[in-house]
């Protein structure tokens, strides 16, 4: 099950995307993904959600009130650096595109109106790429452990960190007590 978050200030777009992700197969080569979709029309609420829940893929509009897509994805990248990121926008502004690529390192920039097939294959590719990357890292860690470059503790800490970002860091409060909620 892959978790996908969709963010667009327009509800109609969100429901159209929800339908698409429900009915269209999300597959690439011999891999297929089942998707669990959450939608948000407010980027701020979406970012708040990303504080508490891990997602595999974020799809965001570019032009939104409160904050634009690049800002939103930048926030997301800090929280969940391994998640795939995608921008779906009708605002074809070169500056926006450049910012998205340079500041956020997005996987794709897809224009509206989108082609359903292309969008689904972009999502599948991003998810497959992400899986590959994580697998690669895990294998590399195993090899490093065998070669004695890394301790099993460090690798476990890394795994936990990936599951629950921030868990391996202690947040000290002002009164020298640790606090559970990130103050960040």
């Amino acid at each position: 099950m892959s978790r996908v978050m969709l963010v667009d200030d327009e509800e109609s777009i969100l429901s159209a995307l929800k339908r698409l992700l429900r009915v269209a197969p999300c597959a690439i080569a011999n891999k297929s993904f089942t998707l669990e979709v959450e939608t948000f029309s407010s980027p701020a609420a979406a970012l708040e959600r990303a504080h508490h829940e891990a997602f595999d893929l974020f799809v965001s509009d570019y032009r939104m009130p409160e904050m634009d897509g690049v800002e939103f994805l930048k926030g997301v990248k800090e929280l969940q650096p391994d998640a795939a990121r995608l921008i779906l926008s009708g605002y074809a502004d070169l500056n926006a595109l450049v910012r998205a690529v340079n500041e956020v390192g997005i996987d794709r920039f897809i224009g509206k109106p989108w082609n359903d097939y292309e969008l689904m294959s972009a999502i599948a590719q991003s998810l497959a790429h992400r899986d590959l990357m994580l697998e690669n890292r895990q294998l590399a860690n195993l090899v490093r452990m065998e070669m004695g470059e890394k301790t099993p503790e460090a690798i476990e800490a890394e795994r936990l960190e990936a599951l629950e970002p921030g868990i391996t860091q202690v947040n000290w409060g002002r009164t020298a007590r640790y606090c559970l909620i990130p103050t960040g």
């Binding site: 159209a16 339908r19 009130p65 009708g90 605002y91 074809a92 509206k112 989108w114």
Partner: protein, 400 residues
């Protein structure tokens, strides 16, 4: 000047023929009927020189410049006459010196004046040349300036066309995106119903297995949303059309006061709490216009005014006034809302420029208004101060 002023004088210079004519006879008489004046080289200036004549040197500045000669006169007589002559000559010298000095001064003055004159003429010529050059340069620069202005105007026109295109693209692409996606989803829904046809034998199990309850319900939502999207595209296109005056309606004879009241009646129901509308209308002459466009423009302006008051977060009033003189009709719409900064004012008439958050204003209100006013050969002016309010003034000329 000094060489001529302080030089040695010769006797023939001092005694010109006119002087000789006057003193010659007098000397002759003094010396007893026989006298001659001789210069330093021995030539006779006056009288006749006889060989036996007694000579008396005439001295000036210790040097003999000539002789006075007489055969009859006694020595004493001759000496006295010489004395007189010397005195006369000295007087003459003084006179000559003074007159020469004067002449020299005048000549020097004249020279200086001539030089000055030449210099002035030269500088005048230079100034003339400079001013001609300057004029030519100004002409070239004015031409350049005009050309630049034209280029700037073209560039601005192109930029606003580009902005228009980008704005339209964005506004249209959003609904187009979900409409298209919905339709292809609907295709999938239909194919599921098609599958039902093959599984009719299974009855309700097939219906449940294909999740057709959801498809029916969502299909309805899907179509409703799609319709809304298509309507939105249609609305954008129609706004653009009136923006560009493509489908020009027929012109009518209309009273702008009626138009104002009409627009007000449309908007009155939508006015937020705390915003009141006041009229101060004077009788107006009829105007040949496109009432549809005028109404839309007034509606836009009133809506803007109301929104400006809401944005200011206080209660306020929209004051609409109209008046006419022989030149034309003036309508002003004043609100005491948020107002605009100078920068916003400068861009206010740009198509798709809006201060509203994304999605709540298309930024076509004022640019459309201006195009409509221009189409009626009128003028639109904007006067706004932040936190004080905005006045939009419209002027329509009345043809004589």
């Amino acid at each position: 000047m000094n060489e001529t002023f302080d030089r040695e004088w010769r006797i023939e210079e001092l005694l010109d023929p006119a002087t000789l004519q006057r003193i010659g006879p007098a000397l002759t008489a003094l010396l007893g009927g026989d006298a001659a004046i001789v210069d330093a080289r021995g030539s006779v200036l006056w009288g006749a020189l006889t060989n036996d004549a007694r000579r008396e040197p005439v001295k000036l500045e210790l040097e003999a410049v000539g002789h006075l000669a007489s055969a009859n006169a006694a020595q004493a007589q001759l000496a006295a006459a010489r004395c007189l002559l010397e005195h006369l000559l000295r007087t003459q010298i003084r006179y000559k010196m003074a007159s020469n000095l004067h002449l020299e001064v005048v000549a020097a003055d004249f020279d200086r004046l001539r030089l000055e004159h030449a210099r002035l003429q030269e500088s005048e010529a230079r100034y003339k040349a400079l001013s001609a050059e300057l004029e030519a340069r100004v002409k070239v620069q004015v031409a350049q300036l005009e050309e630049r202005q034209q280029m700037l105007y073209e560039a601005e026109k192109l930029a606003s066309v580009g902005q228009l295109a980008a704005g339209v693209a964005h506004e249209v692409n959003n609904p187009l995106g979900f409409v298209r996606s919905n339709l292809s989803s609907f295709q999938v829904y239909l194919s599921k119903f098609a599958q039902l046809r093959d599984r009719l034998a299974e009855g309700e199990t097939a219906w449940k297995a294909l999740d057709l309850d959801f498809l029916l319900e969502d299909g309805n939502d899907l179509l409703a949303e799609t319709l809304k999207g298509v309507d939105r595209i249609a609305k954008i296109v129609s706004e653009l059309k009136s923006f560009s005056n493509v489908d020009r309606a027929s012109e009518e004879f209309a009273d702008l006061n009626t138009c104002l009241k009409h627009a007000a009646s449309v908007i009155e129901g939508q006015l937020p709490a705390g915003v009141s509308l006041r009229f101060n209308l004077l009788p107006l002459p009829g105007l040949i216009c496109l009432p549809g466009h005028i109404n839309q423009m007034l509606l836009n302006l009133l809506r803007n005014a109301g929104q400006a008051i809401v944005d200011a977060g206080r209660s306020g009033e929209i004051l609409v006034t109209s008046e006419a003189d022989e030149a034309g009709i003036t309508i002003s719409i004043h609100d005491d809302g948020v107002g605009m900064t100078a920068e916003q004012q400068a861009r206010a008439f740009e198509p798709f420029f809006t201060t509203r958050p994304v999605g709540s204003g298309a930024g076509l209100g004022l640019s459309t208004a201006r195009n409509i006013v221009l189409a009626h050969s009128g003028r639109i002016a904007l006067d706004s101060r932040p936190n004080v309010g905005t006045t939009v003034t419209l002027f329509f000329p009345v043809p004589k």
